[in-house]
Symmetry: D2
Subunit: 318 residues, 4 copies
C-alpha cells in the first residue's frame, strides 16, 4: 500500500509464480507470511479485476511450448501459464480491501491460505502419479520386461507411492477440524503428504525412465513418423513385445518423455518441490504445528527421568 485515498488504497508491487492468473477474472492478493509493525505497508489483502488499470502480467508458458501431440501428448494439448503479476499503483476501492495495515492478522491469513492450498496440492497430485504408474506398467509390457525382478520392484514402489499420497490425503480430509462451519484438513497429515510426494518425486520419475529405456530420448520424432518411407523403417525395428507395434511403443515412450524428460517434465519436477510451498516450508509448518512436549514426557517417563516439568497430558491420538 503506497497511498490511502478517501475511496480506497493504492497498491504497488509484484507477485511471482501466479499460476494461470492470466485466465482469471479477479486477482486476489494476500500476505505470504507473519508480519510485524514494520511490515504495516505490506499487510494488505484485496481483490481487483484482472483488467484494473496498473495490473500487468508477464506471462511465461514454460513447459508448454510443444505443439505436436505425437511427440508431446500432454503438453501439446493442455496448457498452464505462469506469470509475474505486477501491481503498478493499482487503485483498490474500500469494498475490495480486506486488510489494510492490520499486520497482526497477516500470519493467520497466510497460514490459513497455505493449509487449504497445500491440501489442494495433494489432491491434484494422485492423477499425475496414476499416469506415471500407468505409463510405467504399459512400457514394462511393451518392452517385454514386466516379469523382471527389478521392474516389479519399481512398479510396486510406484503403487505404494500412489497409495501413500492418496491415503494420507484422504486421512487429512477425514481427520479435519470443523472451524466455524468450515472443514479444515489436518495440517500434519497434509504437510506429511505434500513432503512425501515432493521428496520422492524425482526418484519416481527415475523409476519410470528406468523401465521405459533410452528410447525415451533417442526415438524418432513426429516428422519421421509422418513420412511413410521412414515410418516403414520404424515399424520394422521399433515394435515391442506382446504384439505391440512401433506406434503404441513410441506413443508410450513419448508420454514418458513428456511427463518426465521434457520442458513439461522439468516444469513438473520443479512444481513438485516448490509449488504450494517448498520442502523447507513443509518441515517448518510441521515443526510449528507439532507439540513435542507429550513425546518428551513419554521419553522421560520411560527413561526414568523425574526432574523437570511433570509429564503433560496424554499424547493426542487423533
Amino acid at each position: 500500500m503506497v497511498a490511502e485515498r478517501p475511496d480506497g488504497i493504492v497498491v504497488r508491487g509484484a507477485k511471482a509464480h501466479t499460476t494461470n492468473a492470466v485466465f482469471a477474472d479477479e486477482i486476489l492478493a494476500l500476505p505470504t507470511r507473519a508480519m510485524g509493525p514494520e511490515d504495516r505497508a505490506y499487510a494488505v489483502a484485496f481483490a481487483v479485476p484482472a483488467n484494473a488499470p496498473g495490473v500487468r502480467f508477464i506471462a511465461s508458458p514454460r513447459g508448454f511450448g510443444a505443439t505436436n501431440p505425437f511427440d508431446n501428448p500432454l503438453s501439446a494439448r493442455r496448457k498452464t501459464v505462469e506469470s509475474l503479476t505486477i501491481f503498478d499503483d493499482v487503485f483498490v476501492p474500500w469494498e475490495r480491501v480486506f486488510l489494510n495495515g492490520e499486520w497482526a492478522a497477516a500470519g493467520l491469513l497466510a497460514k490459513t491460505f497455505v493449509e487449504f492450498h497445500r491440501f489442494t496440492a495433494i489432491s491434484y497430485k494422485p492423477p499425475q502419479i496414476e499416469l506415471l504408474l500407468g505409463a510405467a506398467a504399459l512400457l514394462a509390457e511393451y518392452n517385454g520386461i514386466a516379469g523382471a525382478g527389478h521392474v516389479r520392484d519399481k512398479v510396486a514402489q510406484l503403487v505404494m507411492y500412489l497409495d501413500t499420497v492418496r491415503g494420507l490425503t484422504r486421512a487429512a480430509a477425514q481427520q479435519c477440524r470443523v472451524r466455524e462451519g468450515i472443514a479444515v484438513p489436518d495440517v500434519a497429515l497434509t504437510n506429511a503428504a505434500k513432503y512425501y510426494f515432493a521428496w520422492h518425486y524425482h526418484e519416481m520419475a527415475r523409476a519410470v525412465q528406468d523401465i521405459a529405456g533410452g528410447l525415451v530420448v533417442t526415438g524418432p520424432m513426429a516428422e519421421d513418423w509422418l513420412n511413410p518411407a521412414v515410418r516403414a523403417d520404424m515399424e520394422r525395428f521399433l515394435g515391442g513385445a506382446r504384439g505391440s507395434g512401433a506406434e503404441e511403443r513410441l506413443r508410450a515412450m513419448n508420454l514418458v518423455r513428456d511427463l518426465t524428460a521434457s520442458d513439461l517434465g522439468g516444469y513438473l519436477e520443479v512444481l513438485a518441490i516448490h509449488a504450494e510451498g517448498s520442502l523447507e516450508t513443509q518441515k517448518l509448518t510441521v515443526l510449528m504445528d507439532a507439540d513435542l512436549e507429550p513425546y518428551k514426557a513419554f521419553a522421560k517417563r520411560v527413561a526414568g527421568i523425574t526432574t523437570g516439568a511433570p509429564a503433560r497430558a496424554r499424547i493426542p491420538h487423533g
Copy 2:
C-alpha cells in the same frame, strides 16, 4: 500331518519366530502360503494347549538380556521372548482341527491372517516412533542443539515419519471393507504403511543417534553411576544444556542406546524389516492386490494409443 487316527491327527514339524508363544495357553498353527495338491500333508490348521505332549519351545530372549534399568531402561524391565516351536508327533483331537489336507484353502487362510497381522504391526509401531521422537527432542535440548538447522530437520523428519505411519494406519482402518460382519482393513494402505515404516526405520534410528551423540555408546555405566566418588566426576563433566544434570542426560542417552544401539535396538531393527512379513512380501502383496489395468488404460488414453483392449472402467477412488 503325519498320521490320521479315528479321534484326530498327529502333526510333526516346527515354526520359527513364534513371538511370546511361551506365555500362551493355546498354540494355533496355520499354513503360511498358498498350497498345491502336493502340499496336502502341510495343509493343516489346528489349536493345541501349550503343554500338549510333544509340544516343545526353544526359547530365545535375545534383545532382552539386560538387567539394569539405568543402563537399559526399556529392555531391563519389559521382556519379549521368541521361540522355535516344535511339534514332535503331537496329537490333535478332531474338534481342534480346522484344516486337514484342504490345500486349496491354505492360501486364503494365510492371506487373511496376514492382512490382520500386518495391520497389527502398523498399529503397535507408532508408540515406538513416539519414543524415538521424544528421546531425540529431549536430547536435542540437553545437548543444547535444538535450534541447529540439521537437528530441526531431523526432528521434522521424525514427526512426519510418525504422522505418516499413524495417518496411513488410521486410513487403512477407515477405508476397511466389511466382510461377513468383520471389518477388514484396506490391504493396499496397510502394506504401504508397513513398507514405509520398515524401509525408513534404520534411517530414523540414525537420525536419533545423530542428535544424541557419541556419548550414547561411550558414556559411563550403571556401576560407575552408583559409586559416589565416580558419580561426582560424572556430574562435574557430563551435565547438559538448559540446566540438565548428568543424570537426566545419561538416562536419556541410555534410552536412545537401549532403543537403537543395543541388543534390544538390534532386535527392533530386524523386527522392523522381518516381522509380519519382510519387505519383499509387502511388495508382493501390493502387486498382487493392485489392479494396474485402469492406470494402463489411463496412460493409453492420454498417450493417444487406440489399439489393444478398450479402456476399462474408471480408476477406483476409494
Copy 3:
C-alpha cells in the same frame, strides 16, 4: 549377416541410441552381449563408411531443439544428435569384417568395449556436475540464501558428489591393469563410479532446483527480456541479493532450467541412467567381476565356521 559373398558379407539390422553417429565418417558395429551357437548370424563386427549404400540414420535431436541462448544457454548452442542406425543389406568387404560368426568371441568383445565405454562415461560426467554445482552456488548467492543451513547442506552434497565421481574415476585409471600394452581401467571402480553417478543424479538435480527456486520455470522468457518496456518491469522486480541484477539472476535460472528442467534436462536424466549401460547392467557387471569367495571365507573364519571349503587366499587389496 544375411549373406556371404566372395568379396565380403551383407548385413541387415538396426542399432538404436547411436549418439552422434550422423557426424561420423565411419560406423563401427559390434556385438552387445555374450552369444551362443544359435546367435552365429548376429556375431558380426565390422566398419563401414557412413555413406555406404544401405546405411540409413533416423536422426533424433530430442533435447536440443532450443534456439534462443538466453532461454537455453547450453542446448541452444551445443547439439547432440541421437539416431536409429539402419543397415539395410549393407555390403562389407572382407578387409572391414572383424568378426563373422565367431560367436564365442562376442562376449569378450562386448565386455571389452563396455569397460572402456563406461570409463568414458565417468570421465565426461564431472564437468556436468561442476556446472550443476556452480549454478547452485551462484543462485544460492543471487537468492540471498547461501548461509542457510539447508542450502549449505545441499551445496556440500554436490561437492561430495563431484569429489566422489572424480575420485573414483581417477582411482579406476590409477588402478588399471596393463593388458598387451593397453591400460584397462579397474572394472569394479568404473562400475561403482558409474552407478553412484547415475543413482544419485536425480537427487542432485532436485538439490539444484531446490536452491534455485520456482522462478526456474515461472520466470519470463527471452521475448519479454528483449522488449525494453517489459525488461524494465523485470529489472525492477526480479533482481537478486548482493547486488545481482535481474539479468544475472535470470540467466543463472535459465542455466538451471536448461540443465535440469527442460528437454535437455530430461535428456540428461535419461542419459544418466541408460547411457553406457543401465543401472541394472552396472550391478550385473559388478557381480560378474566380484569374487565373493574371499569375503565368505573371512566371514566363516570370524564366525567360527570350520566346515565347507577351506578359506581361500587373501582378499585382494588392489
Copy 4:
C-alpha cells in the same frame, strides 16, 4: 591450564570418547577446534603418562560385554573400551607441553589431527564392510536365496559400497600433498569417503539383516546349542540350503547379529556416524576446503553472465 609453575603447567578438564585410552602408556591432549584469545586457557597440548597423578579414566566397555563366542563371535573375543578421561589438576613438565596459550595455533593443530584421523577411519572401515559382505553372501547361500533378484541387488550394493570406500581411500592416499616430508591425504576425498561410509552404513546393515532373515534375533542361544537334547532339535529344523547344517547357519546368523543387531552392532552404528567427526563436521570440512569460485565462474561463462568478478583460474583437476 589452571596454573603455571616454574617447572611446567597444571591442567584440569575432561575428554569424552577416548577410545582405548585405558590401554595406552601415554595420553596426548590437544585442542579440538579453532580458538580465539578468550580461549587462551584451553589452548593447551601436552602428553602425560597414563598413570600421572590426577589422571583418571571412567571406562565404558559398552558393546563388548558379550562372553560367549558362539552367540557373539566378534564381541566376545575382541574388546574395545571407551572412556571419559579426566585430568584433575594434572601437572605436566615443560618438556611435555607443546602448546600453552598460543590460541592462534589451535585451529591448525585440530585440523591437522582431523585430516589424519579421518583418513585412519576410512582405512579401517573396509575390513568391516568385507565382513558384512561376506556374511551376507554366506547367508544368501545358506538360506537358499542367492539367486533371487532382490538378494543379488543387495549383494551388488554391498560390493559397490566396499569398492567405493576402498577406492576413495586409495585415491585420497594417491592424491596426497607432501608437506615438509609428510604425505597428507587429500582432504576432499577423505571427507567424501568418510561421509559416504557413514551416511550409508545403516542401509547396508539393513541389507545384511534383510538377507539373513528373522532368525538373526529369534534363533536359539549358546546354552541350548550346548545341550545335546536341544541341539538335536536345532539340527533337525534349522539346517540350511546347499547342505549347510544348523551349526554353520546359526554361526553365520550370530555373526550378523553380533555385527549389526546387538550391543556391538549398535556401537558400530553410532561409531559410523560419530567417530572421527560427525556427519555435520564432514560437510563442514568439505565446504571449508572447497573453493567454489571456479565452479561459479564456469557456470557464469556458460550462462552468459558477464558481470561480476572475472572468471578465476581453471578448475583444479588434481
